[in-house]
Amino acid sequence: MGLVARALTRGAADAVDRRYSVASAARRQASHVFPKHHSFFWGEIALYSFVVLVLSGTYLALYFVPDTTEVVYTGPYAPLQGLFVSRAYDSALSLSFEVRAGLFVRQLHHWAALLFVAAMILHMARNFFTGAFRRPRELTWLGGVALLAIGIFEGYLGYSMLDDLLSGLGVRIFSGLLLSVPVVGTWLHWLVFGGEFFGDIWISRFFIAHVLVLPGLLVALIAVHVGLVWYQKHTQFPGPGAREDTVVGERALPGFASRTVANGVCVLAVLGLLAGVFQINPVFLWGPYTPTQVSTYIQPDFYAGFLIGGLRLWPRWEFHLGDHTVAAPFWVGLVLPLLMFALLALYPWLERLRTGDHAPHQVLQRPRDDATRTGIGAMGLVFWGILFASGATDVLASTFDVPFEYLVWAGRIGLLVLPPLAFVVVRGVCRGLQRSDRDALEHGVHTGVLQEGPDGVYVELRRPPGGADRAGRPVPLRYGGSRIDRRPDTGADQTEEQR
């Protein structure tokens, strides 16, 4: 059996190579060395979630009908039978109750969407705090920012087009934001909705954007993103032998390939478990969308939470420029997120202005190594986190029994006070860690062992982190950007003797 398989593989490989002569290129690429660190697999979580999204989305698209025409629901779900619903909502219900594995695939698709964005955020945070975006990888960073923005919008379009009461309220907010744009707002609204809200063509437009335009963009950007990582080689953490001019890791085949396949299988497994165990977006409970109806606890999916949080915190400040009114939501619903994404996208260049560091970097930094950058990152995360939490003021208020007005004010004040505080605290912590590293390198690692000198003074023994030479003198060690071995017991006995 094994012999036959080997013969077949060899035959096929020979046939391909004789026609396209790819053997040397394949050998070269198979020897492509990948640095190994567990955090380098976080981006792949997003990648494999995206694969699951494409596959499950294809299945859903076979059954979903992007149409606002009203029909009477006659399916098996009793609490909705006989109601007027759009064909889109009707098909989402039939997907859930009548299509084989439909509900599972719907839930799989939705969980994969959440995980896709969540993993991108985690991956982006890792790249930020380790300085992976520095020259020569600015383009990879820019592509990542674009992927995040498009991914958020893609997810929003996806859950909106089901036309249920929960997402319909989000569509209303989108319509309001478009209208709030000065001068061109009405035109923008007509461009998307083809008329006044609610209109009857928006679902088919959302659908085409969701299943064709944005996924196409995402695929292209992911290809460029991953291609750049391959072509420019992955960054690596400093370690034994790992320097700017070397790569320490394992080859693409078989080492890296087996790991990444294992990672992909695990992503699929976790998503499958989530989809099978936890209910997500039960549209049959939300009911069909009608502009006259509303519910409590209306939140978007988590990735759009910061937008809603901003809208909830922002005071009702309207500006009048002559005859034009600039509505309050414009600033916080459109300007603020665009500003946040612009800062994120431009950060590599902003940091270059701050540090004047134009050199290319293949080796990553520990977050403590650039205390200011880590502080800025913490500031950004806290700012985003407060907006995010404020998007759920009602859930927080009822869960923790706090009047929700308090939460709004806490969010407003927190948004101004906490990010700078986070910057100062985190930068201070990083500097403290730097000092502690320097102390360990200069004076040795704390052992916790006290020794009484001849004069009766107790002195703590310090172990030199670089070990000691034959004469017992500590070997001087420079900070190499990697973790210092702080175990007190390593060679502690011999150090004690030699001292």
């Binding site: 567990h38 997500i280 409970l285 606890y297 929700f404």
Partner: protein, 264 residues
């Protein structure tokens, strides 16, 4: 002489006609007269009232300034809703009047409790009238058209009580309650009496049949009924889903990545 007699007779006849028409058109003055059969129950209700309610609501239901509102005209339905759900009597000055276990003497699940509730209601009803608790047993207050009830529920109730009765938030730290524990009679009397911030849904606004359909919808979707797809995550919408995505999904995969990265 004859002419004079005739004039007098005409005046008498005219006066009689006017008086008769007046007597026919003007209704007799209304006086609240308790039926003799109910007198004993009303008296029992008065006794209960004077034990449990009088300190805040006053001697003749007129209310006590700063302590409690007057109850004239709130009706038997309000009494049933407030007392059977344990909102009244308040446990103390800190009690904000939310649902709790009913006082033992007003527990609607016991015979004595429901008799006491009826007596208290009759006493309040006898002083100013108001909406009354339906006499049909609770399970007959669950209507048959669940879907119609659902539509009415989303139109009238979901803006405070949420899609499936998970409650919500109002201004000033007040909360519309979750509908988990509410019995059909309690939901019905709540709609009739409009407790706290809730509007009154009289029979002109929602017919008894529509009220029953709404109750049928609430019963059909609460407690994870008609909600397939796995654990319901509190039916709080995307908030809890986001928490699960991070705490279960992403955290597990970060652990997996650590494991994959550590394997040699």
């Amino acid at each position: 002489m004859m002419r004079r007699l005739r004039n007098v007779a005409l005046i008498v006849v005219a006066l009689a006609a006017v008086g008769g028409v007046y007597a026919l058109l003007v209704p007799s003055p209304q006086t609240a007269v308790a039926q003799t059969a109910d007198t004993a129950r009303t008296a029992q209700g008065r006794a209960l009232y004077e034990q449990a309610c009088i300190s805040c609501h006053g001697a003749n239901l007129q209310g006590e300034p700063g302590r409690g509102p007057g109850l004239t005209g709130v009706g038997d339905a309000a009494v049933y809703f407030q007392v059977s759900t344990g909102r009244m009597p308040l446990a103390g000055p800190q009690d904000r009047g939310y649902r709790k276990a009913p006082a033992p003497e007003f527990d609607p699940t016991t015979e004595q409790g429901s008799a006491n509730l009826a007596a208290l209601g009759a006493y309040v009803e006898a002083n100013g009238g108001g909406p009354t608790t339906p006499t049909t047993p609770g399970d007959q207050l669950i209507g048959s058209d669940v879907a119609h009830g659902g539509e009415l529920y989303r139109l009238n109730c979901a803006s405070c009580h949420n899609f499936t009765g998970r409650g919500g938030v109002l201004a000033d730290g007040r909360y519309p309650p979750r509908l988990d524990g509410a019995t059909p009679t309690q939901m019905y009397t709540a709609m009739l009496s409009g407790p706290m911030a809730m509007p009154v849904f009289s029979d002109q606004q929602l017919t008894p049949e529509e009220k029953k359909d709404i109750i049928a919808y609430v019963v059909s979707v609460r407690g994870q009924n008609n909600a397939p797809g796995g654990f319901g995550l509190g039916e709080l919408g995307p908030s809890t889903e986001g928490v699960i995505a991070f705490v279960v999904g992403l955290a597990t995969l970060v652990g997996v990545a650590a494991w994959i990265g550590a394997r040699t």
